[in-house]
Structure formats: C-alpha cells, structure tokens
Symmetry: C2
Subunit: 306 residues, 2 copies
C-alpha cells in the first residue's frame, strides 16, 4: 500500500549552540517522505522554486518517491531559519519566507486520488483540507499540526479534526488546543473533536497514544546522549509512522496494536534523525539499523510480571 504525503519542502538555515549550517534540505514533507519511504511507496505533494538543488530531487528519486505531485516553479523555495538554545529543546524562529509556497493550491495527479494512507504533514489546515478534498475514500488519514495553526487557523484545524482518523501534535500544543493541563484529559478532549486516535509527542520523554475504549500506549524515548539537530524530528516521526502503517495495513483494519508498533517505528526514525543536521542521518539509515533500534525500544521498556 502507498502513502500520500503533503507538506512543506524547504531550504533551512539552522543554528545550534555548537554549529550553524545553511541551505539545508528541510520541510515537513521532505522529512516525512524520506522516513516513510523506508517502509512503503510514497506519493509526494509539494512545491519548490527553481533554486531547489537537483541533488534533493535525486535523493527522493533514489527512494522511489513518486514526484508527479511535486511542482517546480519559477521563484524561490520556501525558506526557514531557526536557532536552538543551549538545552536543544527551546527553538527560536529567526525568519520565514514562504516564497513559492505562498499561493500553493495543488491539483492532485489522477494517479494520487485513490491513495489509501494519507499523511497531511504540518502545513496550513486550509491546505490540508484542500488536499483531502481530492482523495476518494482514503483508508486512514493522519494529520500533523503545530502551535502556529492553533494560533492563526484554529477554526479550520478544528473542522479538519472531524475528517481525520489520527492527529499528531506535541504536549504543549495539546494543552493549547484543549485548555487542559493533564495530557490524559487533553488526549480525551481531542478524541472528542473527531480523530479516533491521538498521538501526543513529549520530545525527550517519548509519546502517548490514545485510542478507543480507553486504549492507551506510552512509548518511551530513545536515550540519546547527543542531539545534533532536532529539526524535523516530529515530521520524521509522522512519516515513519504513516509509511509503516501503509506497509502493514494491507491485511485488514488499522488496530491499536498496529498503531502501537507504528508509533515505535516513527520514534525509532525520529531518534536517528536528530543524530545529524537536516536529513543526513535519514539518508544513511538502513532497515537493519531500524530493526535493531526497534528491538532496543522493546528491551528498554520491558519488565517482567510479578
């Protein structure tokens, strides 16, 4: 089964306490697509300018990502610049230039319209609606979001929630969206707005997954000693999760046990991603490394019954 991913494709300038790098491949769809492509065929929807380096296109082609839905137009690619403070948890956006992304309103290729798994990666909710409108009877729709959209496009985001099967967001965003300080209450409140499943990411503390009938899963975080660049960790998580679902969902329903495994796969991919700037680590990670770290996640969260 294949997964359709729509989101931003960007050129990033990133500064950490130790390093600064310019003109890096970034954007929610870039991270999501490369992560998902480890597990299943990906159909990408996005836009870049004529300044977008061919090497990034070549990277996506090397992963057999379907680029029929990728527009390359005159103008500059979306640009984002951010800086991480000393603890690598706090991020300040230094500048954003939407450029060709500003008036992006894609018409999906005919061959994309029946894609069963859809990842609406982090972009404006109106654009997520617009893409979802063009897909006929998707099997499972996942939406990612961020604080910016809760601030400036909350109505559209809330309308989106009744159209998706799963929402992914971080702990601060879950509190912001619901007004609940308890993440357990926040997860339940978001489920009551529409999505059957909610994944609340807690950064270095792992991730909580909420489902039907009180289904609950607490996914640990991989104990990394050094984080080189947290950019794209959430996008990589969502892409890995969606790609794994697409690879496994063929045989039946998307169940809570399957989603648990998908959340761990996404966490594994995200843990690799932060080991290097941009997509450098995702470019080299192998299925063997992914399987080995998945086994580590099992080992570190296992304990015997009494």
């Amino acid at each position: 089964m294949s997964v359709l991913i729509v989101g931003s494709i960007a050129l990033d300038d990133i500064k950490t306490p130790l390093e600064e790098k310019l003109n890096l491949l970034g954007g929610s769809a870039s991270y999501g697509a490369i992560a998902a492509a480890n597990f299943s065929p990906v159909k990408l929807v996005g836009i870049v300018g004529d300044d977008f380096p061919d090497e990034h296109i070549a990277l996506m082609q090397s992963r057999h990502i379907d680029l029929e839905g990728l527009q390359r137009v005159p103008g500059d690619t979306f640009r984002w610049s951010g800086e991480y403070l000393w603890d690598m948890n706090t991020r300040e956006t230094r500048s954003v230039a939407l450029n060709v992304f500003e008036h992006f309103s894609p018409t999906l290729p005919e061959s994309y319209r029946a894609t069963p798994i859809v990842l609406l990666a982090n972009i404006a909710p109106d654009l997520q609606h617009h893409v979802l409108d063009q897909i006929s009877q998707p099997k499972f729709v996942i939406a990612d979001t961020m604080d910016l959209w809760i601030n400036i496009a909350k109505d559209s985001l809330i309308r989106l929630l009744s159209r998706v099967d799963m929402l992914i967001l971080n702990d601060g965003e879950a509190r912001q969206l619901t007004g609940e300080t308890s993440l357990v209450r926040a997860g339940a409140a978001i489920r009551s707005m529409g999505p059957t499943f909610v994944a609340i990411k807690k950064g270095e503390h792992g991730c909580l997954l909420f489902g039907k009938n009180g289904d609950f899963f607490s996914c640990p975080a991989y104990p990394l000693e050094d984080i080189h660049d947290p950019t794209g960790a959430g996008d990589t998580f969502a892409g890995g999760l969606a790609g794994f679902l697409a690879s496994e969902a063929e045989e039946g329903d998307i169940t809570f046990p399957l989603l648990r495994r998908a959340v761990v796969k996404g966490s594994v991919l995200a843990s690799f991603n932060v080991e290097a700037f941009s997509l450098e680590r995702l470019k080299t990670v192998t299925l063997e490394e992914i399987a080995s770290r998945y086994a580590m996640f099992q080992q570190m969260s296992h304990f015997e019954p009494v």
Copy 2:
C-alpha cells in the same frame, strides 16, 4: 527480608489550587515506611515531638512497622508548609520548622543493625552517613536526595554516593548535580560517582533506571487524570521500591530485572499516593489494587515485535 528506613516525620500544611489542609502526616520516612510495609517488614528510624498525634503511631503499628527506632521527645514535630501552583508541578515551600529534628542524631537499636535493605530517605546527607555507619554489611543501600542537599551539603552527598548501591533523584536534581543537560549523560555521570544503579524520576513522564554495562529501563508514568496532592510521591516511590526489593531479594542477588520490577512497583505506589492528600490513599490501597495497576503499567508499555 526487612528494610530499614530513616528519614523525616513531619506535620504538613498543604495548599493546592483547589484545597488547603493543615496538620497532615508527612515526611519522607512516613511515606516511605507505609509504602514499603505493603511488601515487607519495616524498621523505622525517626523523631517526633510530644505534639505528634497518636493516630499516626497507631497507623504505623497497624502496618507492623517496627518503631523501636522512633524517638518521641519533648518539643514540636518537624513542620513543613507548601503550596502547589496551578499546574500541580511547581511547588513553593512556605515555611519549614525543624523543631525536634534539628539535633536528631539517632543511635540505632541493636535489633536494627543487621537489616539487609536500607533506604536512606530524603534527609541531610550527614544524617544518612550517621545511620549507615551503624549498619553492618547491608546487602543493598538506597539513598534518596533533593535539590536542597545538592545546594548546601554537596560534599557530604558526594561522599555518600560511594557508599550506596542506588541513588534516587529527580531530573532537575540530576542535571544540577552533574551539570549535564542530557539525562542519559547525567545518569552515567552519577554512576561514575559510586552507585551501581541510578533512578531519575521525571514526574508525569515516568522514570529512567540506569545500571551496569549500559543496562537501561524506561518506566512509564500512570496516566492520572487528576492529581490531588503530589506531596510524598517521590518518598512513596522510594519506599515501595525498597520494600519490594526486601520482599524479593532473599533468593539471590539484586539484579537489573528485579530492580526494573521494583521501579514499577514504586511507580504504582506513587500513582496511588497522589490521588489524595497526605497518606490518605496509601492507607486504603490494597495488594489487589497494586497488582491490578502493575498489570496496567505492563499493558500500557507493551508493544509487539515487528
């Protein structure tokens, strides 16, 4: 096997955003002893004044806690007053009166000196040393601590680390003690100071356990919707952990798999404790409820291999 617990016994005034209660039973040894007594015989070392209510003594007697090491002297019991802010995570100490605790320097009863499991609950490191000096060949020594002692008694605390098998502290304290922002590095740094095992508590995010040869366990937190009073959660965790170890350690070495289970047992007890003020919930919790919540911890952290 029995466990010796030394720590504070206090009368607390506690204010939360919703309620304020006065003259509650508190102190690290009170929480620790009542939690541990679910699993094993407890020998208590502590001091109270002549204002200490008989009902609290009766509670300890009802749990068959050995009170030969409990001094009752003229004067006032140690008093602590604190307030929790709206998120129930931030706590402000409003007042502390050491009272009879100020010059407490216990001589252990003869019957205490061969206790195999020792919990040096949260008190001044010098007092922890003084008690440990009087115990002959303990099988396993656990120390709990807090930011106050890192601030005002760091040298004594660091000397203590080479004398204990396990240190328990929270994430902020681990960072403060080591200067490391990464908890993985902090855990390793503390292990290099002496203790074979380190448990770093992360409040609503669970607990990390570090051991020999890279042994690592990530214990989830129970998804509580409402927290009524976080006071004593850490003391209850330490007591539950130590009591469970004492009940299971008879048969051999204290291994990492045994400690994993003990960390979960401690987390289970702590999750009950915060459901009510003071020790009210610990007074009523049953072994059946503990076993049932332990099974919930297993369920919520389980996922299938791929």
